[in-house]
Symmetry: C2
């Protein structure tokens, strides 16, 4: 089943059921080898920004998905730029040390109109990617539209809709999940779906 619009999503949510959706178009773009579904993997999703970076950790074994933890790395609006990057880098390293993830997933391929914003966002991504790469963790990148399509079934879903479906998939209460971490969990879920349901097809290449 594929959800095509908001009305369908609402009907689907009303049924209270959530099973991973396999984006059919991913099959045709598959370039990677099928992945052994019996392996347990811990996926570290990161929705990177300078002031507020959401993160989520999920375990995947076969078709089973389990939320491990999620949260937000916050920087004060008054904190100097270099302090924010330092804090981001240290926090990511601490999370790696604590949860030992096998794979990291970040947002990529999004559109940014302003060059200055792109530079700031790029800096936050740079600090995070460097910390992940130094720990030897393979990093995958998915466009926001593709993540929404994987989690909600259509690419125009709102932040709230993504949060609702992420909570249903992972059987966690939506009000107990920081809103900024739902996008990070959605990134991890998107990769998990490609690993499990799509058996490794459609996984974005490592960056």
């Amino acid at each position: 089943m594929r959800i095509k619009n908001q009305a369908e999503l609402e009907r689907w949510l009303a049924q209270g059921k959530a099973t991973p959706i396999l984006p059919t178009e991913l099959r045709s773009t598959a370039k990677t080898k099928p992945v052994d579904p019996s392996l347990q993997r811990r996926i570290f999703g990161l929705d990177t920004a300078l002031r507020c970076t959401g993160w989520g950790m999920i375990d995947v074994r076969g078709n089973q998905l389990k939320a491990v933890d999620c949260g937000v790395i916050k920087n004060s609006p008054k904190a100097p730029f270099s302090d924010c990057l330092r804090c981001l880098s240290i926090s990511v390293r601490e999370l790696i040390e604590l949860y030992r993830p096998n794979i990291a997933v970040i947002e990529g391929g999004f559109y940014c109109r302003n060059v200055k914003t792109a530079m700031v966002l790029g800096s936050a991504r740079g600090a995070v990617i460097a910390a992940l790469a130094e720990a030897g963790i393979p990093i995958h990148e998915y466009a926001p539209r593709r993540v929404k399509q994987a989690v909600c079934g259509f690419g125009n879903a709102s932040k709230q809709q993504v949060a609702l479906l992420v909570a249903q998939f992972l059987a966690i209460q939506v009000d107990k999940m920081p809103l900024d971490s739902s996008d990070a969990l959605a990134l991890a879920l998107c990769h998990a779906q490609n690993l499990t349901v799509a058996q490794g097809h459609g996984i974005s290449p490592e960056i």
Copy 2:
């Protein structure tokens, strides 16, 4: 003496003399306290890019400037994006460990037409700034135009002209200095001039 154009610069270079130029307009924009000129400081200049980051280290005591070392952090054009950032971050940390600089200076406030380029350049800057900030080194940022004005006397100087003047200031042979590191040394020189000749006036605030 202020050099206003290329012809003047060439005459000046022909004389074989190089003394620090004090950009007079900086005096009026001075916001920081005067700096004790007797202190010795090691300035770490970085001209950041993903594939080729130039760096230069200079020592400053009073009006005396001395080149310590310079070089380039190179990444293969085929190296994955995350590998480049990992290499940048590790190399910067190694240089800090080796030379123990007190101050870092990077390029900033430049114009970048393309959003994608801004994002990539931002990532390289993010990895470098995070490494510097983690080592507790204060970071200053100067626009390319201001650096050229401080080193060459006018803001439109070419890369070769900057390299020539940097070599003259620091009494090093221009052919022994990697071209990509001359901009990094120029950044360090620009900050050194504001520290010494301008006695701390005109120093850009820490980022």
